[in-house]
């Protein structure tokens, strides 16, 4: 099944499981069309590998429209590849040239252990959410929605923070493997809205504590996370979380 005329060389991280050591292997990607997404290019390579009696390259993916946050490849030294504001499934082969060599690795972070090839375990993010990324409201006890009036600017800023898809690119991009952008996006969203203000102190303290326990590194304000975030989550969220944290520890 070849569809185009681009030929590429892939250097891909292969690792059998969590315990074994991984290494780079080289694969040919032939007959690639510029209209394919990066993941569809992997589909073509895998179909060929299976037909040749070899094992395919394993990678996480699901929605293939840039919203589930599942695809997690580190391409030529950048999370989700060379273009900004997109996930790997939205990266098209027209962003590469015929003859290119492309290096593909998994997210690298102690808090995201590799479980096979390009697949990592990101359950640390779920545990941070369990520590405080919510409003404590049981089903059935809510008031009429329009009883809470929210200034449009606040609602819009909260929405922009809530756009985070939890992919972990911010961690992968950070030299310290910090999860501050991810955590601050949730803290900001809820701190900006009246519904979230009741629990704001406990929330920020508990989420930051869990983040530290998971083994994520510190933030040194480099900004690689913001630059690589597929949803352009702003660094302002980190500043807002730092203020939230400070005021929570002072009182």
């Amino acid at each position: 099944m070849s569809h185009g005329n681009m030929n590429l060389t892939l250097k891909v991280w292969k690792q059998k499981n969590k315990a074994e050591r991984g290494r780079f292997e080289t694969f040919d990607a032939k007959g690639i069309s510029p209209d394919m997404s990066f993941l569809e290019m992997f589909d073509v390579v895998n179909e060929k590998l299976i037909s040749d009696g070899k094992e395919p390259i394993v990678f996480d993916h699901d929605c293939r429209e840039g919203i589930c946050g599942m695809c997690s490849m580190y391409i030529n030294g950048r999370p989700h590849g060379p273009k900004e504001g997109i996930t790997t499934c939205q990266l098209h082969m027209r962003s590469f040239k015929d003859g290119d060599t492309i290096v593909v690795e998994p997210w690298r972070s102690a808090a995201f252990p590799v479980i096979k090839d390009l697949v990592v375990d990101r359950s640390s993010f779920d545990r941070i959410m369990s520590a405080g990324g919510f409003v404590s409201i049981n089903t059935g006890s809510a008031n009429d929605a329009n009883n809470i009036l929210i200034p449009k600017d606040d609602a819009d800023t909260a929405f922009n923070a809530a756009a985070c898809i939890g992919c972990g690119a911010c961690v992968a991009a950070c030299k310290n493997s910090s999860a501050m952008l991810f955590v601050s996006a949730k803290v900001s969203q809820l701190a900006l809205l009246p519904q979230g203000k009741v629990e704001r102190k406990d929330r920020v303290l508990n989420m930051v504590k869990q983040m530290d326990e998971e083994g994520f590194g510190s933030c040194t304000n480099t900004g690689a996370c913001e630059a690589e975030c597929p949803k352009s989550i702003s660094l302002e969220n980190i500043a807002r979380m730092n203020r939230e944290y400070l005021s929570a520890t002072l009182t």
Partner: protein
């Protein structure tokens, strides 16, 4: 027509508008201390699954949730774009519970159950309240109130939204409620686990077999009740707007063990998707229905037109939806819009390189918004360029992420050129047959959200999937499952050493061994693509007797070939995506046949089911209410052998009529 004795819908007595209220006040309850010893398994973590799991855990039940992704937040509900309906009447435009109920029944082409739909409309408002309380950042007006927009098949504005990411925000709300319960120890998560089968003991569902997708190990889990919240089966077509992993395995295995399958042929083809660009394509991307608020759909009046869209003058454009359906125009329901697009393309008026696309054009509304903005800003006699610039800012705020997505995929800028769109498989109205309690024909086994057949009849209206998933999970199942569990308080946890568990596990192990040992020459995708082509060509937007008959024998042959020639590389005791796919495709190969059989049985056209033999002179769907006003619930007998049972649909509160949007 009388309903089959095997189907008891358990609709409460009384007036339609009072049924649910009365039911809630009289339903059996479980006291808090007993809840702690009752276990519920939830399969799937989308809107229905996450909301059900969180709500049941809040009530005190012991809950387990499994999902095939790495986090509950990634379920495909996340990709829903446009919005969620609720009859709040915040816009003062005449909305009411009855009107939402009526629109949904009519939109479904009079093929859904009145009592379920009315309940859905009743709880719709609570959903918005609950989500706002959780911190879901819905779009708002400057006064701080919630904003609404219009969707197809209605004449009121009842759709609540968060830009083009409504599904994401609603799911993250439900996910946060779920994670809160996980933190409290009330819910156990099983990430990267796929359900393989249900386990029935003495006629009741008592648990599941699932596969740990990292180690490959099969696991047994006991539950007093099992909720399948596993979404739809659109991926039977290979290409659809579903996520790559969406599958029918859970519902299909349940079907094989006694759960009847309702209306399998009702498939929704969404009119506004990005057209197929080549045979490498792995999935199709939706452009939200909300775009039809502000976009006008047209094709050139000349066949085989070669000029650029922007060079075709106004009088040479055919706004065919506005022409055919003046009352609803571009906001006709999805089935009607999809068929109209197919009709124009088949007649030779299609656009783009494949000629299988129509235009969705924002120019007129960009200008209209620009004028409003200019007036707001007190700009006197602004230039055309100024108006267009201001208008584009408004469009960007409303649909920015969708426009970016379109540009990324097609390489064309939709702010400058109209979008090219074509229909694609999007949603399945069919699913496991459930009664009023959302229980399948297997006691203790429930189906919620897209996985059941219940509320949308033969066609779902836009922004109603999110509504139904959350209604089922937050507001219906917490009551109805209690009614069943109140009878189970004396049932102790059954050991998973029970022979029924051992037998179910052995069957699955056997099937996995078979898949691993075929060692044929063709990949799983090869078979999936072939199945998809048969389904799309013969059981897609238009169906006929001849095509369906041949599709059935083609699928049977393909299934035989699959078990002889499929190649699954690697090993079963590790992460093995090819094995996962093979398992799912094997089930699709059985389900596809049932879909065709159901479509062949239904000698009428209704909603998404369009049989070419049954249409009006104007090409509209022609229902046969005398013979087909029923739910087709299929019972599995043996491979390829299904028995039809009918649930009569009685309309006591709505006058059943020809559906017109003209």
């Amino acid at each position: 027509m009388a309903s089959s004795p095997k189907l008891n819908a358990r609709v409460p007595e009384g007036q339609l508008a009072e049924k649910w209220t009365k039911y809630r006040s009289t339903v059996h309850l479980v006291n808090p201390s007993n809840k702690r010893s009752l276990e519920v398994i939830v399969v799937g973590s989308g809107l229905a699954g996450a909301s059900a799991a969180a709500s049941l855990a809040e009530m005190g039940y012991k809950v387990k949730v499994l999902y095939y992704q790495d986090s509950p937040r990634r379920a495909h509900s996340i990709a829903a774009q446009g919005g969620v309906n609720a009859s709040k009447n915040y816009q003062n435009d005449g909305d009411s519970v009855y009107r939402l109920f009526y629109d949904t029944i009519k939109g479904g082409d009079y093929r859904s159950r009145e009592a379920n739909v009315h309940r859905l409309a009743e709880v719709s408002g609570n959903i918005i309240d609950q989500c706002v309380a959780q911190g879901v950042p819905f779009a708002r007006e400057y006064g701080g109130t919630l904003s609404n927009r219009s969707f197809g098949g209605t004449q009121v504005q009842r759709t609540f939204y968060a830009a083009g990411q409504t599904g994401q925000q609603l799911l993250l709300g439900a996910y946060s409620a779920l994670q809160r319960q996980v933190g409290m120890g009330a819910v156990q998560l099983l990430a990267r686990h796929e359900m393989m089968d249900i386990v029935n003991i003495d006629g009741k569902c008592r648990g599941i077999i699932c596969r740990d997708m990292v180690t490959g190990k099969l696991e047994r889990h006991f539950g007093h009740a099992v909720l399948l919240c596993t979404g739809g089966y659109g991926n039977v077509f290979y290409l659809s707007t579903n996520a790559m992993g969406c599958n029918a395995t859970a519902v299909w295995k349940a079907h094989r063990k006694g759960a009847f399958f309702g209306n399998p042929c009702y498939t929704q083809i969404h009119p506004t998707c990005i057209p197929v660009s080549g045979d490498h394509q792995s999935k199709l991307t939706l452009m939200s229905e909300s775009l039809r608020n502000d976009g006008r759909i047209w094709v050139p009046k000349k066949q085989g037109e070669t000029r650029k869209a922007t060079d075709i003058p106004e009088e040479e454009r055919d706004y065919y939806l506005e022409r055919r359906y003046p009352a609803f125009g571009n906001l006709v329901p999805r089935d009607v819009a999809s068929r109209a697009a197919k009709e124009r393309c088949d007649a030779g008026y299609g656009v783009g390189s494949s000629k299988m696309a129509v235009y969705l054009d924002f120019a007129a509304n960009t200008e209209r918004y620009g004028k409003i903005e200019a007036s707001k800003k007190n700009l006197h006699s602004p230039s055309k360029e100024e108006i267009v610039r201001l208008g584009k800012e408004v469009i960007k705020e409303k649909y920015g992420n969708l426009f970016d997505m379109y540009k990324q995929i097609t390489g064309e800028d939709p702010y400058e050129l109209p979008m090219r769109i074509y229909p694609a498989v999007h949603y399945t109205m069919g699913g496991l047959w459930v009664d009023y309690n959302l229980m399948t024909t297997v006691p203790g086994l429930y189906a919620l959200g897209e996985a059941n057949f219940s509320d949308h009849g033969a066609n779902r209206l836009g922004a109603s999937a999110l509504m139904q998933g959350l209604a089922d999970g937050y507001f219906v199942i917490p009551y109805t499952v209690g009614d069943y569990l109140s009878e189970e308080i004396r049932t102790k946890s059954i050991s998973t050493d029970h022979e029924a568990f051992a037998k179910a596990e052995a069957e699955i192990q056997d099937r996995i061994n078979k898949l691993m040992t075929v060692k044929g020459s063709k990949t799983v995708d090869h078979f999936h693509k072939r199945l998809g082509k048969i389904m799309w060509d013969k059981c897609g937007m238009a169906r006929n007797k001849e095509g369906l008959t041949s599709a059935i024998s083609e699928i049977q042959k393909l299934r035989e070939d699959f078990w002889k020639e499929v190649r699954v590389p690697g090993e079963a005791n590790e992460i093995n995506p090819e094995l996962e796919k093979a398992h799912r495709v094997a089930d699709f190969l059985e389900l596809g046949e049932l879909m065709c059989k159901d479509a062949l049985n239904r000698d009428e056209s209704c909603g998404g089911h369009f049989r070419e033999e049954f249409q009006t002179e104007e090409g509209e769907a022609l229902r046969d209410d005398k013979n087909f006003a029923y739910v087709a619930a299929w019972e599995y007998k043996s491979d390829g052998n299904f028995e039809l049972h009918k649930e009569e649909l009685a309309y006591e509160n709505i006058k059943i009529a020809a559906r017109s949007y003209k």
